[in-house]
């Protein structure tokens, strides 16, 4: 609570000079964009910007949900495996329905519903185990991470599940198509981010998340239903994993054991780069969006330039992540 309060007063203080804590991620993003534009003239082309934003959408949509989980003092390591499992399940169900319903909109809608419901239940399982059984979030989600990864391998019989060819053509516009030249994944990401920002800043739910992450005992005494709020953060994240999967499946029309590997770490990294505190108590959805863009841009710039050996891509990524977080550290040490 105290951290929350001081932070709020810091932000509200008028005439406060340059606040790197707020600007840190944005500075890093701007530096990357300028660097990219200088290194390659195609960097700011419509095609490249669309590519980068669209590929950020999966991690981005998940990371918005992750912001709430982390703000409320939780963690979810299972989202990457969950996405792979939901993608596999979705493909299997849709393929099964093609003979009876034909390769059209109706099957795709059923597939989308399957993804959302599966995400909801997967999140519910995580949430119930964490809040009702009182098991550490790290352990629960480490467990479910292994379970979903094995399940998708088993569903695919060790190989790859591929969407029916005709259906893939009907479904492709969901990733490649769009409105006014902006593709659907980008629009969905934008919508999820705006809704997330509103929920975090303007609703009781957002304030409860921060309060619980700050000090769950105090939150409980303040008559916040701690378990219910925590449970809802995991359910919300599960549903958003479902939404991300709906965008992911039409891209390549397949799912395998290699789908969504390390998405959970990318999502967590994006959340932290964006200024949310890993130990909970303070969350910033727009920061998460910036964090996701920073991560995608690093990979994109490294691919567009030749000045480092591809063996070192991981190292460059690591350095920039650490730098982005250093930029926004608080000047005085925390208790």
């Amino acid at each position: 609570m105290t951290t929350q309060a001081t932070r709020a007063s810091q932000q509200a203080r008028p005439g406060h000079g340059i606040n790197l804590h707020v600007l840190g991620p944005i500075v890093a993003l701007v530096v990357l964009i300028v660097a990219g534009a200088l290194m390659n003239s195609n960097f700011l082309s419509y095609a490249n910007v669309t590519n980068v934003l669209a590929r950020s959408a999966f991690i981005g949509i998940i990371a918005v949900g992750m912001t709430f989980v982390i703000t409320a003092g939780g963690l979810d390591l299972s989202v990457g495996s969950m996405a792979a499992f939901i993608a596999g399940l979705m493909i299997l169900v849709m393929n099964l329905l093609v003979p009876s319903m034909g390769a059209g909109i109706s099957v795709i809608l059923v597939g989308m519903v399957v993804a959302l419901v599966a995400g909801l239940f997967a999140g519910l399982i995580n949430g119930v185990l964490i809040t009702r059984m009182r098991i550490e979030a790290f352990i629960v989600t480490l467990g479910t991470m292994g379970i979903y990864r094995s399940l998708v391998t088993w569903l695919a019989d060790g190989g790859t599940l591929s969407l029916d060819f005709g259906l893939r053509e009907a479904y492709e516009p969901v990733y490649y198509g769009g409105l006014f030249g902006i593709s659907w994944p980008i629009l969905t990401f934008l919508l999820v981010a705006i809704l997330g920002e509103i929920v975090m800043r303007k609703t009781a739910f957002g304030r409860y998340c921060a309060a619980i992450g700050s000090n769950d005992q105090v939150a409980r005494y303040s008559s916040v239903d701690v378990n219910r709020v925590r449970l809802l953060t995991y359910v919300g994240l599960g549903i958003l994993v479902g939404v991300a999967t709906i965008m992911y499946v039409p891209r390549l029309g397949s799912a395998s054991a290699a789908t969504g590997v390390l998405w959970e770490l990318e999502a967590i990294a994006a959340v932290i780069i964006g200024g949310t505190m890993l130990k909970g108590g303070f969350g910033r959805v727009w920061g998460t969006v910036v964090g996701v863009l920073i991560l995608s841009l690093i990979g994109n710039i490294l691919n567009l330039t030749d000045w480092v050996s591809p063996y070192l891509n991981g190292a460059i990524q690591g350095v920039i992540i650490v730098l982005a977080v250093i930029l926004q550290r608080e000047s005085r040490p925390e208790g």
Partner: protein
């Protein structure tokens, strides 16, 4: 359904094992230890191992097989120890998860006088195994490079995707580079796609943004080729004439067979090499034919003329 069928057959095999042992005097046991199906190629390898075991158990009633799949090197070591201790295996066929951690345990198996066949990934110390069966990684790169040269007689600009940084990947790339040397083929860029569809999709999108003219792509793997093809299609680029994958995934072989101009060829690195290893090991146990030594399975060029021979519709890969 398939899983259930496999479970039943293995349960039957377990029941049938002791009975068969009573009938035939000298039942010999072959242990097969392989990595679990964590990616497409390994999935195919698991399929061919199971198929070979089922077929050989029928062919040779005097042979018993124990098949174990491991999800990490430590589990594989335990599997092998269990096979020796509880099943008294006479021969071991092993595809090591990683070379280093498996070298010691496999050596101790060999020291007990048990026949050892090593598949694909060699051990860190030479001379432990009686038989070595493997694919030809430099050859894989060379055949791919030679195809590039023949498909681009005037020369051209290509981009290449590499796998996970490993010896296997390095050998393939070296073989490829040697084969295209001096043939006016310019490699614009090479990045790691990690044998992964999504990574390959991303890398190819960025290659397409970076280079306005690309004549062909060496995707070096069929999973990566799937991602590359999707990226090219989405960008609507018509300059890329074809994509050369590799390893012989059935969907890609089928496209080659049907004469798809974007997928004109493939280069094999067959997961069925595990079946070769099990067959030869079994042959060594039941006959006097000498089978020790090295058996290197060549990487072959698949085109629309011979694609039919490389198409296995039941395999998961």
């Amino acid at each position: 359904m398939k899983h259930f069928a496999l479970m039943t057959t293995s349960a039957l095999a377990l029941l049938a094992g002791p009975l068969a042992a009573q009938e035939a005097e000298e039942t010999q046991v072959v242990g097969v230890s392989i990595p679990a199906a964590t990616h497409g190629w390994a999935g195919g390898m698991n399929y061919f191992a199971q198929e070979a075991v089922e077929r050989l158990e029928e062919t040779y009633p005097q042979l018993d097989f124990v098949l174990a799949t491991a999800s990490d090197p430590a589990k594989q070591v335990s599997d092998i120890e269990d096979m020796v201790a509880t099943r008294g295996i006479d021969a071991l066929v092993v595809l090591p998860f990683e070379s280093e951690p498996l070298t010691g345990p496999v050596k101790s198996v060999a020291d007990q006088g048990i026949w050892v066949t090593v598949v694909d990934r060699g051990l860190a110390e030479p001379g432990i195994e009686d038989l070595y069966v493997a694919g030809d990684n430099p050859g894989f790169g060379r055949v791919s490079g030679e195809y590039m040269v023949s498909a681009l007689p005037e020369g051209g600009k290509i981009v290449a995707l590499r796998g996970i940084p490993t010896t296997i990947d390095n050998e393939r790339v070296q073989g490829f580079e040697q084969a295209i040397e001096g043939h006016n083929i310019e490699v614009l860029g090479m990045e790691h796609g990690n044998w992964n569809r999504d990574d390959a999709f991303t890398v190819m999108q960025d290659f397409l943004s970076k280079y306005p003219q690309i004549d062909a792509v060496w995707a070096s793997d069929d999973d990566m080729a799937v991602g590359v093809l999707a990226a090219i299609e989405a960008a609507g680029r018509s300059d890329v004439k074809f994509v050369l994958g590799g390893a012989g995934m059935k969907e890609m072989i089928q496209r080659t067979q049907q004469g798809d101009a974007m997928v004109p060829a493939n280069v094999t690195y067959p997961p069925s090499m595990i079946a070769t290893a099990i067959e030869i090991t079994a042959l060594g146990l039941v006959s006097d034919a000498p089978v020790s030594g090295r058996f290197i399975i060549g990487s072959e060029l698949v085109t629309s003329e011979n694609a039919e021979r490389y198409y296995f519709p039941d395999s998961p890969f």
